[in-house]
Symmetry: C2
Subunit: 84 residues, 2 copies
């Protein structure tokens, strides 16, 4: 549910018809793509590419989605501390 | 500076050699891609695709990068309020 449509380099319309509401553990997430709202689509769109290659639309207003994105960014801080 | 290398669907190595340190205004950003660190790359990678199609690596620990990502997500809340 919440599958993203095929994507050209710069998408000219909304890519998500619906969003996947259930929690997805970060260990299954390969990357997360954030597209701000704009002329092409009035919705902010968050599309996670899973490690099995599937693309899933997430709800940008869902707390767990914001937490996952924050966790990804915060990990860069801890990486820096251990690396330096 | 900080250009991202060409990307296959699921990248098997680090995509960013260096990061673009100067502030980029959100209005120039088409989307932002976050890749958590993992076996393929020990760095968290943030790649912004600009409206002119260029891809630029951003520093995930830079406050302005975190602010831009937060602003994109927060905009979804305001969109929801105005839409509903």
């Amino acid at each position: 549910k919440g599958m993203a449509q095929a994507r050209s380099a710069i998408e000219l319309r909304c890519q998500c018809i619906e969003t996947h509401s259930k929690f997805i553990h970060p260990k299954f997430i390969q990357n997360v793509n954030l597209t701000p709202s704009g002329p092409h689509c009035k919705n902010v769109e968050v599309i996670a590419t899973l490690k099995d290659g599937r693309e899933v639309c997430l709800d940008p207003t869902a707390p767990w989605v914001k937490l996952i994105i924050k966790a990804i960014l915060d990990k860069s801080d801890t990486n820096n501390k251990t690396a330096s």
